[in-house]
Symmetry: D2
């Protein structure tokens, strides 16, 4: 028990604390520094998961665990060691590896939780979002905003694995979630190259006159690697030519956006892709809010709270709130990240501190 | 362990689950229905705290616990029985009774957490917000938005108690909080009738030309009972005269707003005041997000998830997400409430269901 | 004809210009400097109208001209001498003196044009806006946003005059106006002290929960002198006490706002009230957009484009776009102004230049 | 003079009207129906200009009129026959054909007026916007938002003509314009296939992390025909497949947008492209605000206020406010249009009436 005055608790004070409990009350003064730290003091810890391990475990799950109704998905979540008893990557974000065997189908359902998939390797699966089949290929970001029905089906004989990102921890902590079962099979088993949402929306700066109302989440279900790769390439070339385009020297980055607003793709999740030239180190950054990164290609390392971790393709790591991070690229280094940035922005909590720029 | 197929786990599956743990991973399929319930299934429970109990405990704390630096405040929080080990009223909201003895001072500090005070009885304390002394009187709502320095001082010999509302649980869970100590004494010990913020901003529909930039939180530090009372009165009179003004028959309500935007007073907390005519029952409502209510005056009851609780002046109760609630007024019945509505609205999670209107 | 090369037009060029006309075309190069001046070069001129003259003319109109259906209003507009053939105060704004004899009624109608009234003296008339009778008293601003039905009736035997402000020139130039006749008599002949809109909305920072949707124009029909006066008073007192509150030393000002958004009262018209201490001179300002001012009380002068004009109660003057203006107060000096600022802001054209601050 | 009561004006009334004039005043009652018509009654008339005529006149201007400093541009504006003495297409919009001879340069300047170019045929010119050379090719929309420096240079020996769209009439009427001369030659004479702005911004749904602040106008300087054409194609194919995508049966349309907001490309000008299948007739529409259309390809006709006009490639026509219009396609029919829609939307004046849908 916290002692305000350095002396042992008097019997009267001991009685008071017992009465607090009986009355379902708790004093602020014994827990003020825990509840209201001088700077964010997350329980979640920085951590790295190796793609090799994840993929191996996912494959074994594929042999042992069915994918049907009830469990709904063969997805295995990253469980932050600082958040025991949960499968949360951070207090707000869920990240899982999902695995679908040859010709398997994950049945349709919908939920309030916002979701996306990012494909680090493989192909052959279509995710069907509100009846619109969306091809999943390497480097693609695929969205399933809250309350959209979705299922997945593997159109090939080969299994496929990818990562899922959701706001499950946030939704669960704040009691906002609804869930509904849908069709056992996906409602459209076609395997078109492009979804209808892309055919309507994936034209730069163009908007259908038939859809002029803004939507909370992006109406575009797929962000293709071809476009992401080209955008990053051009940023680095523009930098070479002497024009402002990159975040910092040698560090290109794009944010995936909702074309109806120019803002984040979903109200709780920010998605970005970062590319470093070989040899580049980024400035150390402290940011309010948490992030999950996945290496897409190349080799390098991340320094998380002063500790360096070597990284290879597919490796995932977590940056809890305010833990300083910086990246070093040995080769050209491509990384996908997602964060709870929209939550922080919309609720007025965002802060960034870059010691090399803002001073210490 | 959840069985997808009804049979006992095979040794291979048992090994897989052990390997999940070793790899800091956890399967979705064993916890899907917990993480993603069909409708919000809060751990927080509906609960009522009696003002008499709270006040008694606060007074005893006044005798036993100092208010100075470190503990910072003599505040005792409502600890929801469904959230053991915390002092959280709901997963997002903190509510405490704060007690300041005659001529005591609670030192200045500031924090990212948004805060307000609501005064159910008493007077004599000034809260000093960024150097602006704000009188605290019965029925007043006083704001301390995030990162504003604030302290309290009691200008009289008599003690005073009030309730504090903050977003501590939300801020703590999401690691957004910063904290800074300020002056040991309040920086302005004057006790003016009106704060400078009111003198600048509390003129209906008028805005200083010297302050045309919108602010994230309300620049108005005090919402006076006199105005709240008159606004509610007028709504009921307009209803009597046959004009639309009330939420439903016999149920008047105002929302406290940020005059620079017309929106909620702070980005995470919504504040409202409700008045029922004697004899009125409100429709049963399910709402996403959680709320804390305090009876300001009158007698009546609340039905929470089907259970009726009698209420008197000062009593506090909690409505967790999606728990149906309705109020019954024996006398004219005045209640203050605060909720996490702005979080739900800004992140796209708001839903309301009124069986009598929307059908069952 | 503009000569690009200093020589006489060749016959071929002469023929070309004739062919332009025949083809309903016109070259840019002969009119570029007129159409696209180096800085705004308004045709409207700075001008002062004397209240005495206006009132005299309005009274004589009262004797000679009926107020009924067809003409609709006994209003006489300020006709800027730089805009001959119109009754426009500026290219965007209409300003008229309106006169209603004892017990007269101006019939109800509605139009797309946004309108307000400001009362420099007198009382006894109620304007009925969408069936809600609104008292008109000295110092009050009364709104009639676009497409609200409205009529006026004089409840007394004495005549009353006030000024009307509308966006008629803008609406006419841009072909946006619709008009509809309403009741011959006002639909509610009551003369309450406060309109229903005030009873719902004129509570500082409070909003009815029954009206949470934002509206394009303010739902508050009346802004009372009592509140305006007090707000200005407080700004000067706060300045005296050493706190920021005024626009510049000795110059208090409020903007009338829409409480649902914190923005301007109507989408095309900005309304403000300014108060100068005796002896104060304001900095010279150039602003994009035009304004009409009316002296409410006190004596002083305005310098418009370098020319000083003495002013007394009720006098009106126009400031065309970018014409520098400054005010000098002999006594305490109170002025109402309205501008097309919301048009300029919303379309990205706003600019202000203050030589003493921004340098020359 | 308007007679309110059907009798001849009395001498007293005649004197009053003379006194109005002397006092620079004008009564509302004599002009109410002109100033405030029952529905928009534009002076601008529907009108068609033939591309053949425009091009011929532009070519002759090319032989006779220099393009250099002073006149600045060899542009010939459409002069609406209903707006004599101006070169205005509508009360808000300017539309001109601009002509640049082989290897000619139009010098750099900037102005508050928003501008774009649309290319119905030809190629070889680069417009240099804030130092960024932007290729102009058939079917492309090129932006020059207000206050961006811009010049044009012809990189080939062949002349080129295109249309310019600006808000000159609106800017001139409302006195918002500033103008500044720039370099005599364009500041970058390169002729790259893609501008830097495209390389940064023309990636569907992707935004540079180095440019997260929203901008009033689009940062994307070029919208390429390849994307427009594909977007329209896909809408018609989706319609064929039974999915919602088009404005109405057989009528595809895209709006050009600012990728930072999803809104219009510039605050005063809306740009769209429409495609009709052969044989399709659009519903008749009345819209508040004015528009200029150019046929890009195909044959058909427009009915403007009940009068049919045959149209061929390059022909331009004007639709004044509230004049009903419908299109008929003989072949596949492609049309570009620009309107003052953002003005109408932002100021609350937008209305559309479709008799076949809304009833008559």
């Amino acid at each position: 028990m916290h002692q305000m005055d350095g002396t042992a608790d008097s019997p009267a004070l001991q009685q008071l604390y017992r009465d607090f409990e009986a009355a379902h009350m708790a004093p602020l003064w014994t827990q003020r520094d825990d509840l209201m730290p001088m700077a964010p003091a997350p329980q979640a810890v920085p951590f790295v998961w190796r793609w090799k391990t994840l993929l191996d475990i996912a494959q074994r799950s594929g042999d042992l665990v069915p994918v049907g109704r009830g469990g709904e998905r063969r997805a295995v979540g990253l469980a932050n060691p600082g958040l025991p008893g949960t499968a949360y990557a951070t207090p707000t974000l869920w990240c899982a590896i999902q695995y679908l065997g040859g010709h398997e189908t994950a049945p349709e359902h919908r939920h309030s939780q916002n979701a996306f998939r990012f494909v680090v390797e493989g192909e052959g699966v279509w995710t069907v979002v509100n009846g619109d089949p969306v091809r999943m290929s390497r480097g693609d970001l695929l969205l399933t905003p809250g309350w959209n029905f979705h299922g997945h089906h593997n159109d090939t004989a080969a299994p496929m694995a990818w990562i899922d990102g959701l706001d499950i921890p946030f939704s669960s902590a704040n009691d906002v979630g609804f869930f509904e079962f849908g069709s056992e099979r996906v409602t459209d088993e076609a395997s078109p190259e492009f979804s209808r949402s892309e055919r309507l929306w994936a034209h730069p700066g163009l908007r259908p006159v038939s859809a002029l109302e803004d939507t909370v989440s992006s109406p575009l279900a797929a962000y293709r690697w071809e476009h992401t790769n080209r955008a990053l390439d051009e940023q680095l070339r523009l930098e070479d030519e002497g024009h402002p385009a990159t975040v910092e020297q040698g560090h290109a980055a794009i944010r995936y956006t909702n074309p109806t607003t120019g803002g984040d793709v979903m109200p709780t999740i920010r998605c970005e892709f970062h590319r470093l030239r070989a040899g580049v180190s980024t400035a150390e950054r402290h940011e309010v809010g948490s992030a999950v990164w996945q290496v897409f290609e190349g080799q390098g390392s991340v320094v998380l709270g002063g500790v360096e971790h070597r990284l290879e393709t597919g490796d995932l790591f977590v940056v809890p709130s305010w833990v300083p991070w910086s990246l070093q690229a040995d080769t050209r280094f491509d990384l996908f990240r997602f964060t709870d940035g929209p939550i922080m922005d919309r609720l007025g909590f965002s802060r960034t501190f870059i010691p090399s720029k803002d001073g210490v």
